[in-house]
């Protein structure tokens, strides 16, 4: 499915808006991001009740590209400065308040980010299966300091085609802060976006700037997931489609 342009479904940059403050303070604790246990969720006063919608997001990319760092960045944890191989699967929960444009309704998106070390995935079969099971979105990562990882993106994306096409796919370039060593040019990115019609996000550097650094990516995830669900809900009343496996189509990216 093609990505929707930013700001078409939800209020863009809502975190900057004063009326969002009551919601965003719920994901903060002492000026830092609040860490939520599995038994916790943001609690709003009755007059500001907001529903929570849950999505599973898989972070894909080769070892060292910055998957674990991205999960930490989005969840607001301490970003590791050493590269330690992730020797299994880890999930992190991110709550993100969003205001829908049309209805002005506020929702808490609960993203569960799934991060799995490449070696572990190779050695233990159940890992990949587990990551792909009921996944709603995939972030394909490359690093701006590693041209090979960028080249590999198309490969990665074709490996994860889902016949029902009910998976939001976004590309994230990490280590954008290391622009001095950048290996991937702007024109390559532009061309990639034109051909694949998948948007590319840039992350890297400090997160001290507050939400500005992560908002574009989290908003895009929210917006595309919501859009995907709306489309599906409206098509659900149509007669059932032939089983995707029967058509046996190949998708070339």
């Amino acid at each position: 499915m093609e990505a929707v342009p930013p700001g078409s479904v939800i209020v863009a940059d809502w975190y900057r808006n004063p009326d969002s403050r009551d919601f965003f303070t719920k994901i903060l604790h002492k000026k830092k991001r609040r860490v939520f246990g599995l038994l916790e969720a943001p609690v709003m006063p009755p007059h500001l009740k907001a529903d929570t919608v849950r999505y599973k997001v898989f972070i894909s990319g080769k070892s060292g590209v910055g998957k674990t760092a991205l999960a930490a960045r989005l969840a607001g944890h301490q970003i590791p400065n050493m590269h330690y191989e992730t020797t299994g699967m880890e999930t992190s929960i991110v709550f993100w308040p969003v205001k829908l444009k049309e209805s002005s309704r506020v929702l808490f998106f609960q993203f569960q980010l799934w991060d799995c070390g490449e070696n572990a995935m190779r050695r233990f079969d159940h890992m990949l299966t587990s990551c792909k099971e009921q996944v709603d979105a995939i972030l394909f990562l490359f690093s701006f300091t590693d041209h090979g990882s960028f080249k590999d993106i198309s490969n990665q994306m074709s490996r994860f085609t889902d016949p029902s096409d009910r998976v939001v796919r976004l590309v994230v370039g990490t280590k954008f802060d290391l622009f001095m060593h950048t290996d991937v040019t702007e024109s390559e990115i532009t061309r990639f976006q034109e051909v694949s019609r998948v948007p590319v996000f840039r992350v890297g550097g400090d997160v001290s700037e507050g939400f500005g650094e992560i908002a574009p990516l989290l908003n895009a995830l929210a917006e595309n997931l919501w859009h995907q669900d709306c489309i599906h809900a409206s098509s659900a009343s149509l007669p059932p489609q032939p089983h995707p496996e029967d058509t046996n189509r190949e998708v070339i990216v």
Binding site: G37, Q78, T87, M89
Partner: protein, 448 residues
């Protein structure tokens, strides 16, 4: 050889001395020194002796050990105030090896076919190994890496937690479950506690190293119980710093346990868990245990279950004003580690060589007895000092030490050991009764 207060850990192939990795101290030892350290060990082996440890005049120490006839680990510590004891270095080697087995499995390490490949694979152990080397938990009184007893917290209301954990674990098709509160075992299933103590400690370390992560699914080999078949360690952060772990086979999936079991079993206990977290801020012992104000720190070990609990009183400043200024908590834990080491290497020597438990629990395929023996060698060179008790037929049951910072008293019964640090104001002749009363105060009120 090394800067003071630093430790370096080296891993080489045992047969050819090819360096595989080095961790620890930022300033690496030069290659020639590594070569010599290996060479001198090999020379010994050629003469039919096992070189296991040496100490320089300036307090540096080197400890060697070969595992599975395949890999050699060497720990080098610089002198200085924080120099590690030989016992600690030995434990470090053993723990490091266990980390490597935990992550990679024993087969990978015992039969080195491709050195370059092994080097790459070993990288995945660095997180855990560095965690051991950082000694990060020491200032919070974690002792398990040294004592090989699980660091525990005794909750005020263990009953409901235990019941919930037991049924949650069972629902996840497992018999091995554990609840960690701020890194300490609050409750665990019987089977979990019957894992080898080193395994319990490593699994806790692994679960604790996941800062911020909500849940995880880690393949783990159990160094004693299942060194060649991986199990899955699933951890769930119920509340920040309250983590429940289960050890599973191929099913159920992480997603299923999380979505179907975690909430339904644990939601009713949110307040109890919060209570535990609050208690843990103050002490690992419940409020029902009151300690004398002049006790600085204590460590109680249950020798049967290989569990331990530490406490340090006067966190609340109700001490009389004439009390001398107290050393920092970090310093008290450090002194406690020193005293533990002192006592077990000189007097309570039966503790020093941790023999493998009689019942190594094996979730799936029990390891053959032969491999069992080779994975926990209690080799003769394990003994660290000439025994104080050599020539005596009895075992010391109490010992004490007076320093210019504190007084220390050690006490052992068939069931327990107590290591106690008190203020200097406690008369030396009263130490024994203070220790005896303290031990019964702790064990009596909690059944620890």
């Amino acid at each position: 050889m090394l800067q003071a207060d630093t430790v370096q850990l080296l891993c080489l192939t045992a047969a050819s001395g090819v360096p595989l990795f080095s961790r620890g101290s930022s300033k690496q030892l030069p290659f020639s020194v590594i070569g010599s350290l290996n060479g001198v060990h090999m020379f010994g082996a050629g003469q039919g002796t096992v070189l296991s440890s040496c100490e320089t005049e300036r307090g540096s120490r080197v400890v060697w050990r070969v595992f599975q006839d395949s890999l050699m680990l060497i720990a080098v510590s610089g002198g200085g105030n924080k120099a590690l004891s030989e016992l600690h270095l030995r434990r470090l080697l053993e723990n490091t090896w266990n980390c490597m087995v935990l992550v990679l499995g024993r087969d990978e390490l015992a039969n080195v076919r491709n050195v370059e490949r092994l080097k790459r694979e070993l990288r995945s152990c660095y997180r855990l190994i560095d965690r051991l080397l950082e000694r990060g938990g020491e200032d919070q009184g974690f002792m398990g890496d040294l004592t090989h007893c699980a660091d525990c917290l005794v909750p005020a209301q263990p009953g409901i937690l235990q019941e919930t954990l037991d049924s949650f674990t069972q629902a996840a098709d497992s018999e091995f479950g554990c609840l960690l509160i701020r890194g300490r075992v609050a409750v665990a299933t019987d089977k979990w506690l019957r894992l080898a103590p080193q395994e319990v400690i490593l699994l806790s370390t692994l679960a604790n190293s996941l800062s911020g992560v909500t849940s995880c699914d880690y393949p783990v080999f159990l160094p004693q119980g299942s060194p060649t078949v991986a199990h899955r360690l699933l951890c769930f952060q119920l509340l920040p710093s309250a983590v429940v772990c289960v050890l599973c086979g191929p099913s159920p999936s992480l997603h299923r346990v999380e979505s179907e079991l975690v909430g339904s079993f644990w939601s009713p206990l949110v307040e109890t868990l919060r209570g535990c977290l609050e208690q843990a801020e103050r002490s690992s012992l419940p409020p029902s245990v009151s300690l004398r104000w002049d006790i600085q720190a204590l460590l109680v070990i249950n020798r049967e279950t290989r569990r331990s609990v530490v406490a340090s009183s006067r966190a609340s400043s109700q001490n009389p004003s004439e009390a001398p200024p107290l050393s920092s908590p970090a310093r008290r834990w450090e002194l406690l580690r020193h005293f533990y080491t002192f006592a077990v290497t000189r007097y309570f020597t039966s503790e020093e060589v941790t023999t493998s438990p009689t019942l190594p629990a094996t979730p799936a395929t029990p390891a053959a007895p032969a491999t069992q023996a080779s994975s926990t060698p209690a080799t003769p060179h394990e003994s660290l000092h000439e025994d104080f008790s050599k020539g005596f037929t009895h075992q010391p049951t109490q010992c004490y030490l007076v320093t210019d910072e504190c007084k220390c008293y050690g006490l052992q019964t068939p069931q327990h050991q107590l290591y106690l640090l008190t203020d200097l104001s406690v008369p030396t002749f009263a130490l024994r009764s203070v220790a005896t009363l303290t031990l019964s105060a702790v064990t009596g009120a909690t059944g620890f």
